[in-house]
Amino acid sequence: MSVWVRLRRPWTMVGIGCVLVLCVIAIDNLAFTDTLMGTTYHRTQTIWLVTGWVAAGVLAAIDPVYVRRLSMTAYQALIVLLALVLVVGREINYSKRWIEIGPMNLQPSEFMKLSVILVLADFFDKRRHSEPWPLTSLWWPGLLLGLPVVLINLEPDLGTSVVVAAIGLSMVLYEGVQARHLGYAAIGLLVLISVAWQVDVIRPYQKGRAEAWYHAIIEEDDQPQRPTSQRTQAEQALWAVGSGQYTGRSEAEAKNSVLRHLPFVHTDFALAPLAARAGLLGSLGLFALYCGVIAWALRVADRAVERFDALVAVGVAALVFWQFFINAGMVIGLLPVVGITLPLVSYGGSSVLTVLAACGFLVNIAVRRRGR
């Protein structure tokens, strides 16, 4: 079967179609937030998206062997960049995440997500294990995963480090861990989090967000009695989302609402204007698009012949799912606020490049390898 015929398989079409529609939605949403803020982000983002599609095309076309060979080198280079960003990085919003290259600000932590997927997939493909993994044998993937997580958290960027950790752990769980060891790990994680809370490794503003979230969920404290200065971003985002109701607000109505004062409305809170304008129906459509991408990735994993390919596809599914779930949960008040992007829709070159490149690789897997 030729490549083009395989491309026309229904699931591949669904995946590519969903990604394409998400990209269009992203441009439309940015055009709207630009009118709120007086910026021109949608133009910049168009350039990034086109670049991303080109990158995806390249990754879809080349032999995955090259990618696999290069993965470790890329991983090492990104670790160096992550260390470098702590020293020479550009600080935005009290966080050093970006490296300036000419007119662009690149965020190595975003690329690291893909790199971790590739490196872990490579490891698990080479070291096949006949039984579920005991934790003691997982020290090398643990190190591969832990190093970027710690480095990213130092920037500080809790959100991205959580996502990287979630992707890695998802892959490990997919690979299989002894149930008893899994229990130990879960208990250890809980202890670690509570200790971190007590000894101030968790930063005060993060605690504040967690507490605000707790109050919002538990005590329903969402009355607008407090002056603007004391109102949280999360509350305002919630009102904006709620104002969408069934079918959404018109553009003019959405403009004259709390969205006007909502910070990060073009990046981390991009779902808020979308939900306000699209309403419940439109938001469900958006969710369906993400579900389509994730389901496609899982299907690719299912059909993959090579272990490496399957694991990469699982990793990509985890990447899209966790970013989508955490981001959407945070905007609609289900989770505390952390700084991560909505895949493809939020403004940001590195994020979009990473996700599109990952999707390109999925196409590569889906098209080139013979499925069962």
Partner: protein
């Protein structure tokens, strides 16, 4: 579970795990969907309402300052609206500074230097978090004249040119070169026409004749009916042009207005803008609750009662809505649920001042350059009138635009801001009652004790003169008071000594606060201790003699004198003076504060009687120093005083008058006059009011102060007929006679021992004649002991 986490070599297990992952993902997405439905559908209505609220902001709600009312409830100080212009620097982008300032200059009469200063202020780079609104102009003209607070009138557009270099305004040249404002002839000063009286320029040239700048024409459509100045309605102009000034706002503010202007300004006082010096002492008590344009009391009752008048500012939460939707009813509910801290308005103060009497006092003192009068209720100590001359207009002091020439500079010598009724002066002969009371109570003299007045008294190698150089002959205490014999009181002072004089003066309320709610001078009661500390040579026994006649180092305020005479009139009860009748509660009912009871001085009946009779004789008997000033309505008793006054020309006045020697000479001549005093009460029986009058450099007490007191008493009793039993004495017909009757028989109403008063050879002391120097002339010999 085991299969789920088993090794994934087995394709079957891999597939199962894949399914499991799919299930978990679907569960996660369904959670999201459930939450989304809750937020958008279940709570959608509510969140939609919140979402259209653009902003909830906390603002300070200024408490209105309490009113000040007279005894009958007439408002003496009230609040009117004023406006100020602020630039919101946090909204101002750097490239908008110049256009904004240009627009402001076009709309307001802003000079080039003001414009440059504003540009400079706005161009400063300030940390965005520390940006505060910048105050551009206070008291924008809108409804009231910024100079005298009169209500402005809308008039046809007046031509008014404005030079942006020198800031001069030019009116159109009037026909016949007569100033349309005060009808004076204009003078041509080579540049244009000028009114010297009101300091206005008239020109129709397109350029300013002073510096050649092109004159800009501002439409003036408001005119002050009082000062005839014309104005632009600045608030209306700024509001109409708000679209050109998006970074500014016009802030409504409360301004103080005093409708009776000069009438009671010393008692009421005025307010001024709050300064860092006002805030600094309050800082230890917590963050100060002052706004940028708050006013605080600066003098008088406004200052003393500032805390009560100011009230407590509240907090208000403003909900700003977007333009899109206005679900008003629901939002109103929201606003109400916010529960701001309510405003506590300042308390309204009711004074004891009687406005009619105050006016009468003002009229009575119309010919006086400088002086004070105070009228008390004899029993309660309520201040019925308190006036000082020259007065000032508190409206011009209350932080409004300063007039071009400060009118107070012209009368600086007369200390217009000084509240003279509560300022210490040498009380002179009015103080003799203190010596008389002390001597009678201590038993140093009896009503029959006589001393011979030969016109002077030699003591300690110095000669102390009587004001009557020819002497009064043999006088007892009655005659000594009636004729104001100094020699009699030199004897008394010598016998009493300074210690007993001091003790009695303190008992009679000198050297202590009178109880009035104003910042008063407590005067000075000289003592041995005081002389040791303050006089280079220390105490010299002759000082007691001068003290007995109220000269030398004694200082008493007109109010303190009034209290003593009130005590004599009411039977020996020294009342606490008060000017605040009370505060009004929410229903306008008067709540009077608790007050100290009058002090019982423990005076013997005989002491009181002889003093009362003697003081009546001063006014009503031939030979009395105030004979000729009997009121038409009731019988008045009192005492004159003529005090040597300091002849100091104020430094700033001397500098001002350096180029005008004639005016300086007039001033020096005026200063050579003595201070004139009169303190008395009426009616003689069943006294009601006590009047204390001081005329600075007025001449003699009998001729210059007593007639004022008479007018005041007449004004009061023509409105409030006296309750006293005896009708006005028939003698009053003769009171206007200038020629002295050779022998005036004691009046019928006086008790029997009154007849003991001998007819003294003082017929030469005529009312028409200037009263000679009283008291101890020996100021010079004493100065060089």
């Amino acid at each position: 579970m085991a299969f789920a986490f088993g090794n994934s070599h087995d394709p079957l297990r891999f597939r199962l795990r894949n399914r499991l992952a799919l299930v978990l993902i679907v569960a996660g997405v369904l959670t999201l969907v459930a939450r989304l439905a809750l937020v958008q559908v279940v709570r959608g209505d509510r969140y939609q309402k919140y979402a259209v609220i653009e902003r909830v902001s906390k603002v300070r709600a200024q408490a209105p300052r309490g009113l000040i009312k007279s005894a009958d409830g007439t408002v003496l100080a009230r609040n009117i609206e004023s406006h100020s212009l602020e630039v919101l620097t946090n909204r101002l982008k750097p490239d908008r500074v110049i256009p904004l300032c240009t627009n402001l200059r076009e709309l307001l009469d802003m000079t080039d230097s003001e414009h440059a200063a504003l540009v400079n202020d706005l161009s400063k780079t300030v940390d965005p978090r520390k940006r505060r609104p910048l105050l551009v102009r206070r008291d924008l003209v809108s409804t009231h004249c910024p100079f005298d607070s009169s209500q402005l009138e809308l008039v046809a557009e007046q031509p008014h040119g404005f030079c942006s270099v020198c800031g001069r305004g030019f009116e159109a040249v009037p026909p016949r070169h007569t100033c349309p404002f005060d009808q004076r002839r204009l003078t041509a000063n080579g540049k244009g026409w000028h009114c010297n009286a009101c300091d206005r320029d008239f020109s129709e040239a397109p350029a300013c004749p002073y510096d050649g700048q092109l004159v800009r024409h501002l439409p003036h459509i408001l005119q002050c009916p009082l000062c005839r100045r014309t104005f632009n309605d600045e608030v209306a102009v700024l509001r109409a042009n708000a679209h050109r000034l998006p970074e500014t706002r016009v802030v409504a503010d409360i301004q103080r207005e005093y409708p009776f202007r000069f009438l009671a300004s010393h008692a009421i006082g005025y307010v001024g803008y709050v300064t860092p010096a006002d805030v600094a002492p309050l800082l230890p008590l917590g963050p100060p609750r002052f706004g940028l344009s708050d006013r605080v009391g600066r003098s008088g009752l406004e200052s003393v009662l500032d805390g009560a008048l100011r009230g407590l500012d509240g907090e208000q939460l403003l909900v700003k809505r977007s333009e899109g939707e206005q679900p008003a009813g629901d939002l109103d509910e929201l606003v109400q649920s916010i529960r701001p801290r309510p405003v506590t308005p300042g308390l309204t103060v009711r004074l004891t001042l009687d406005l009619e009497l105050q006016r009468a006092v003002k009229v009575a003192m119309k010919d006086v350059f400088s002086g004070a009068a105070v009228v008390l209720d004899v029993h309660s100590g309520h201040v019925l009138a308190m006036y000082a001359k020259p007065s000032f207009d508190p409206n011009t002091m209350s932080g409004k635009r300063a007039p071009q020439a400060r009118p107070l500079d012209d009368i600086a010598q007369y200390a217009p801001l000084m509240s003279k009724a509560i300022h210490g002066y040498a009380p002179a002969s009015t103080y003799k009652v203190v010596a008389a009371i002390a001597a009678l109570q201590e038993g140093v003299i009896t009503p029959k004790t006589e001393h011979t007045c030969g016109g002077h008294y030699d003591f300690g190698g110095r000669r102390f003169h009587c004001h009557n150089r020819r002497g009064h002959g043999d006088v007892d205490v009655f005659d000594a008071i009636r004729a104001s014999c100094d020699v009699f009181f030199y004897h008394v002072g010598e016998q009493l000594g300074l210690d007993r004089l001091e003790a009695w003066a303190r008992r009679l309320g000198f050297g202590e606060p009178t109880g009035i709610e104003l910042r008063e001078s407590i005067g000075r009661v000289p003592s041995l201790q005081w002389y040791k500390q303050h006089v280079p040579g220390g105490y010299y026994p002759g000082f007691a003699l001068s003290t007995a006649v109220g000269q030398k180092d004694v200082l008493a305020t007109p109010l303190q004198m009034a209290r003593v005479y009130a005590a004599i009139a009411n039977g020996g009860l020294l009342p606490q003076a008060t000017i605040v009748a009370g505060f009004e509660d929410a229903n306008g009912k008067l709540v009077a504060p608790n007050r100290l009871p009058p002090r019982d001085l423990g005076l013997h009946k005989a002491t009181l009687l002889i003093l009362q009779q003697a003081l009546r004789a001063v006014v009503n008997q031939q030979g009395g120093t105030a004979f000729g000033s009997q009121p038409a309505t009731v019988v008045m008793a009192g005492k004159t005083g003529t005090a040597q006054a300091p002849q100091r020309v104020r430094k700033q006045v001397a500098e001002r008058l350096r180029e005008d020697p004639a005016a300086l000479q007039r001033l020096v001549a005026w200063l050579q006059n003595d201070h004139a005093w009169f303190v008395g009460w009426a009616p003689y029986h069943q006294a009601e009011i006590v009047v204390s009058v001081l005329v600075e450099h007025g001449g003699s007490g009998g001729h210059n102060a007593a007639p004022i007191a008479r007018q005041i008493v007449d004004a009061w009793f023509s409105r409030h007929p006296a309750k006293s039993i005896p009708p006005p004495e028939p003698k009053s017909e003769r009171k206007k006679k200038v020629d002295p009757a050779p022998d005036d028989s004691p009046d019928e109403a006086s008790p029997g021992d009154d007849s003991a008063a001998p007819t003294l050879p003082e017929s030469d002391h005529q009312p028409g004649e200037p009263e000679p120097e009283p008291g101890e002339a020996p100021a010079q010999p004493e100065a060089a002991p």
